[in-house]
Symmetry: C2
Subunit: 334 residues, 2 copies
DNA sequence: TCGTTGTGTCGAACCGATTCGACAACGGGC
DNA sequence: GCCCGTTGTCGAATCGGTTCGACACAACGA
């Protein structure tokens, strides 16, 4: 591989001159610049990333921490992947992916060895063990998902309480008097996925406020338990006229279940949910829903992170930002 | 951050001694080693990855090239992600993820700048534009997916013709005399996804050999076209008693479609397919199928790649390996 | 004419590791 | 008592960039 020294030799200048020509940090005569450019072209020179990182202590890489829990519905995580890598690239950063079960250890390893300039944590739990490692790291980090203690952290998440109220209000306005909520599986609560109870509690409160009868039930994440739980829930609430499904795995199989029960939407039952438009497009999901906007969340998180990286001195306060619920009417309510 | 110099000072030895203690490439007295270990602990020292990469020209990072085609069924790609990152980690490597639309440019950029020690290409097409860049790169690479020209490349893929024959044989043995195949969407063929025609042609040939009536139809990748195409295909072949579904997006919604038509499996129709056990678990997919083994393919690819990285001189011939079809009977045939 | 300012380039130091050759101290064989 | 091989440690060079200070030279105003 050609080094900057080879380029310098070919162009008949010093290495520093080539470096300045590359960075534009000092003026270079037109003639010299041309000779350098020619040499770079003909030698097919690209600066060595390791050497540059060593000197500048900037790797132009962001670390992304995913957690694929055993019982997770994997496609949900995927929705964040593409927006994050794409916005990172557009800002000049690459993405190093970590999927280790022990996320805290992975974070420390990568941060300590200086492989990344910043860290992105997805699917953050209420009492996430990775946060201690993140706070100890010298690189900045951003979270997608709300932990219990946000002190000093930049956090982006959907406004789940607002989403819940939006959906309950929507059903209430249509005159529904008994609503059934399918929540994420029990293990999500146990793991501390705060979005689950933030959504559920707000929905319950809003229903109570409207005097609407309300019941919440755990969904499941794997077949055939999903089918069974849905049927059990529907059997248990024969008078409910509306269903709120807050669980990707359940909503993905709901059309088949309703079909098998001879229930038609929205005539027999109004159904609303919470998912992204991409998710709706991949699966057969024609339900009115609050948009979960993983693309927007991913983009915001990356932008915030790179801003912190590029302005290290500044101590602007950490930001906890909830993005607003936006209802997409797909005609599944009446 | 502590450097190796800080450790050396704290332990009262030279930097080289610390380095040798770390790598074990020279003998170190027990006493010195203890002092060094203590210093490392108390200073919380981790070697700087950039510096190490610069000196050793080994980054311990593998580049992974994914392509999310506009109309792709995303979860399919995801199945490879986890096995690849996990086997890479177990061999000491991290994964740098690239999702750019222009994969060839991304590959060149990352390879030229020496950010990675090797490259993994997923979903390789018959005439994949990334292959020229891969061949030009100084790092070794492996493919998952079979291109037209495999010269000098290590390739891993499922034995699709074998899979097709296995399924056709299975149905033929049960006495079926008319089989209907749902293939990947037309754009997969156009893009050069050779697995599509390798499977289809072998299935057709095997059916002909058995004297079984056979028809193939393009599936779709997005709703509501998937539903419509499935219904159209089923309408068009009223006498087919067996269905082979070679398309993740179609098979994911097939249960609902069959339900809505009042078709029960396997009594009215035998259904077989080709997917992974993880895919079957996430979705409601109770079909007898050939296992597509993304975990095995991912693991093999990573192992081959790291082997090439660690034995650079050796010129053992490139390997094109097809893994055998394995039928998993889930009782959806009769 | 002299000092000043600005432009373009260079040499050297540095980032944080690895590794080669040198060498001191030590014990064993003669 | 001398030579030799082993063991443990060190200093210096190196990887490939970036950046600071110095400086030669030209143009300028006084």
């Amino acid at each position: 591989m050609a080094t900057i020294g080879d380029v310098a030799k070919a162009a008949g200048v010093s290495r520093s001159t080539v470096s300045y020509a590359l960075s534009g940090k000092r003026t270079i005569s037109l003639d010299t610049r041309r000779r350098i450019d020619d040499a770079i072209k003909s030698l097919n020179f690209t600066p060595n990333a390791g050497a540059r990182a060593l000197k500048t202590s900037q790797t132009m890489v962001l670390g992304l921490l995913l957690q694929f829990h055993e019982d997770e519905f994997a496609p949900a995580m995927l929705q964040y992947l593409l927006p994050i890598t794409e916005s990172a690239r557009s800002l000049g950063y690459d993405i190093l992916m970590m999927t280790e079960a022990d996320g805290a250890a992975a974070l420390t390893r990568v941060a300590q060895s200086g492989m990344v300039d910043g860290l992105i944590l997805l699917d953050v739990a209420h009492d996430d063990p990775r946060l201690a490692s993140l706070r100890a790291a010298r690189q900045p980090g951003v979270l997608v998902g709300l932990p219990g203690d946000t002190d000093g952290l930049d956090v982006f998440d959907l406004d789940f309480p607002d989403a819940a109220r939006t959906l309950v209000d929507h059903l209430h306005e249509l005159g529904h008097e008994e609503i059934c909520l399918i929540t994420p599986p029990r293990h999500v609560y146990e793991r501390g996925g705060s979005y689950a109870w933030r959504f559920r509690d707000a929905a319950m409160e809003q229903a109570t406020k409207h005097g609407v009868k309300f019941s919440a039930h755990y969904g499941e994440s794997r077949q055939p338990a999903i089918d069974q739980s849905l049927n059990r829930i529907l059997d248990a609430s024969p008078n409910a006229t509306a269903l709120i499904v807050h669980n990707d795995a359940s909503v993905a199989v709901l059309p088949a279940v309703l079909h098998s029960r001879g229930v038609s939407v929205p005539d027999d039952l109004s159904v609303v949910s919470l998912y992204s438009k991409d998710f709706a497009r991949s699966f057969s999901l024609p339900y009115t829903a609050v948009e979960s906007s993983p693309d927007k969340l991913g983009r915001l998180a990356v932008e915030r992170l790179t801003h912190r990286i590029q302005n290290p001195g500044t101590t602007d306060p950490s930001e906890v930002r909830f993005i607003a619920a936006e209802l997409v009417d797909r005609g599944s309510t009446r």
